[in-house]
Structures are given as structure tokens and as C-alpha cells.
Subunit: 137 residues, 3 copies
């Protein structure tokens, strides 16, 4: 059985943001005893991943790394009509991915101690982002 | 309940290709009202991801970026027996991933307006690629 | 219906390791006729992906590539308190991902001929790693 929830995250600044609680609020903490959580982002210039939930420096370092990996002035890039941050955003989104899955065990997300769900916002001035959250049992 | 479909995509040139319609044809558009679509590629030198479905320049820029990220003459690479494009193809495939999941809402794939499913073909002369498409409800 | 199994992989050296058989042992080879396998790693400095299962040179080349992509002395990195290998490990883990899904067809993992499940160990001296393995039908 699958339950689905659609939500719009409020606009975030460019960078990496921990959204574990936003996701849980979306489903009113309605976690089954056992199952899988699937979160899907309906955009091509933002992504989702799972990483450290503790030290804010990690978020800073992710942003720094990804900006160097896919900078805004790469020679030969053609898709510039939506701004210089747009094509790098597509690339970064393809690298981190558009969805995450987390097992639900004993009524809780079976995240490791240090794991949180990240929204990876790659545009400079994005509006809110739409998520489709599915819980199946 | 899971329905599974196995298909072979026709050979594509090296690069990024939108295959959303190929995937839907594979399941004869047999989408349930609610569920999840899972697409898995049975190869190690091609990948799947989700990204922009509109401007063909995006496909060009992806190819350019990934070729620079994992070029064919990286010092120290040992796995060259299958051609210089092979090891970079493995690396690129690990970066984009081997499968995608898309929620099905109201009988349709809940892709965002600008999202399409990409086949990422990383070999110079690949034959067709096998996909396992699963729809569960 | 979902069956879940929790296991701890023994400590591996830094690098890429094929763990397909470890995963199958975890579920006592209890594969249903039809379904999906989901493997989730409860850590932020190791990842999972699917890639070539044959030539050990591929494992070597992956390690070489990822070390160059996210080296240990990147200017500007702040999160160094847990060691110079820690922040690169977070980055690499975000790139390969924290989970993999494989269809189960006719009672077997529907991996391609050359595909295996990789543990990507990015720390220099990690202890064992916890996996949550889910099989749903």
C-alpha cells in the first residue's frame, strides 16, 4: 500500500539544507511500523541526497566543492539563456540525484545517527520546490 | 503488487538521450492510479537520470561536462583493455546511477514540467541497452 | 509486503568492494519470485553503487578517480576535525549515493551479466558498516 503526499518547500538560499523534519511534517509523522520512504523532487536544478546532519561546516564545504566541480563559466556551455547558474545546476542535480529512499523500521526512519535528508538548492534565486513523498508498506 | 517489463532500447549514439516515451511504451502506458515506477539499466557503462526535457543544448552540455570530468587519458588508469572510453564510462555511470524512481499520481508519472528520463550512453559504439521496468502499486 | 534485514559488514579497507554475495547472505538468499531489493547504508562517509564485477583494475581505477575528484587538501574546506579524509568521504558518498535498488525477476537479482553491488568505503580506517536490506514483493 502506498500513501502519497505532495508538498512545496519554502524557498531556500542556494546551498545545502537539511530537510528531514520538513519531510516528516509533510506526512504528519505518519510512519508505519515497517516500510520505505521515497522522496522525489519535481525539478531539474535542485536535488536530494542524504548526508551529515551535525556540523554546519559540512553544508558549507559541499557548496564550495560543487561550485568548483561545475563552475558558471565552463568553456563551451550552450545552455545559458536561463542564467549562468542554470546549466551548472542541472549538472549538479544529475550528480546528487532527484530522489532518496529510506527504510522505515520499528515506526521510525532507519537513518544512521549522523544522517539527514538534504535539499540541494543549486539556483541563485529559486522559488519553493515541490516534493512528492511516498510511504509504502 | 509489482508488474515488471523487460525491454531493449535500440542503440543510441554516445551522449544523453530522453527516453520518457520509450519507457511509457514499454509498459503500454499501463500506469495505475497510484504507485511508483522504477527503471533499472542492466549495464555498467551507461546510466539513467532525470533532467531537463526541453532545450537540446542541455544534452550537449551534459556530454561536454562529463567528458571533461572523466576524460579518456587519465594518468594511472589500468582498465583499458576494452577501449579508452570504457573506464570513463564506468565512472560516469556510477556518478549518475543505474536506476530512477518516479511516483505515479492520478494515473500519470508525477514528473515536474521540465523533467524527462535520460539514457546516459557513455560508450562510443554500444549496442542496445536492456532495461527492467517495474511498476508497483 | 516488505521483509527487512539489518546487517553489519565487516570492516573493509578504503576503496571499492564487491558485496553482492554479502547482501544475498544477509537475506539467506530468500529472494521471492518477483520483487525489488533495496539496500541502504546508514553512514555518510561510505556509499553504495552498482558497477563492474569482473576486472579488479576497475576497483583500482575508481579509487584513483574519486581521490583526484575530491582530494584531501582542497582549499577552503572547513570540516577537518574528523580527519582530512572525512569531508572528501562525505562528498564522494553524496556522488555515488546511499542506496541501490535491483529488480528481482524469476527468483534472482536481475543484475546484468557484468554488474555487482559495490560498497564504496571512503574513510581510511572505518569500522564495519551497517546496511538495511529490504525485499518487497
Amino acid at each position: 500500500m502506498i500513501k502519497q503526499y505532495i508538498t512545496k518547500l519554502s524557498a531556500r538560499s542556494r546551498g545545502f539544507h537539511i530537510i528531514t523534519q520538513d519531510v516528516l511534517r509533510t506526512i504528519n509523522n505518519g510512519l508505519p511500523e515497517q516500510g520505505i520512504l521515497h522522496v522525489f523532487i519535481q525539478h531539474t536544478s535542485a536535488g536530494l541526497c542524504i548526508n551529515e546532519n551535525a556540523d554546519p561546516d559540512v553544508l558549507h564545504d559541499f557548496e564550495l566543492f560543487f561550485n568548483r566541480l561545475a563552475p558558471e563559466h565552463l568553456a563551451g556551455m550552450k545552455h545559458t539563456i536561463e542564467g549562468l547558474d542554470d546549466m551548472p545546476a542541472h549538472i549538479k542535480a544529475a550528480l546528487v540525484g532527484h530522489s532518496i529512499q529510506v527504510p522505515i523500521v520499528n515506526g521510525r526512519l532507519a537513518l544512521g545517527t549522523w544522517q539527514g535528508i538534504y535539499l540541494c538548492e543549486f539556483r541563485n534565486h529559486a522559488a519553493g520546490r515541490n516534493l512528492v513523498v511516498s510511504v509504502w508498506t
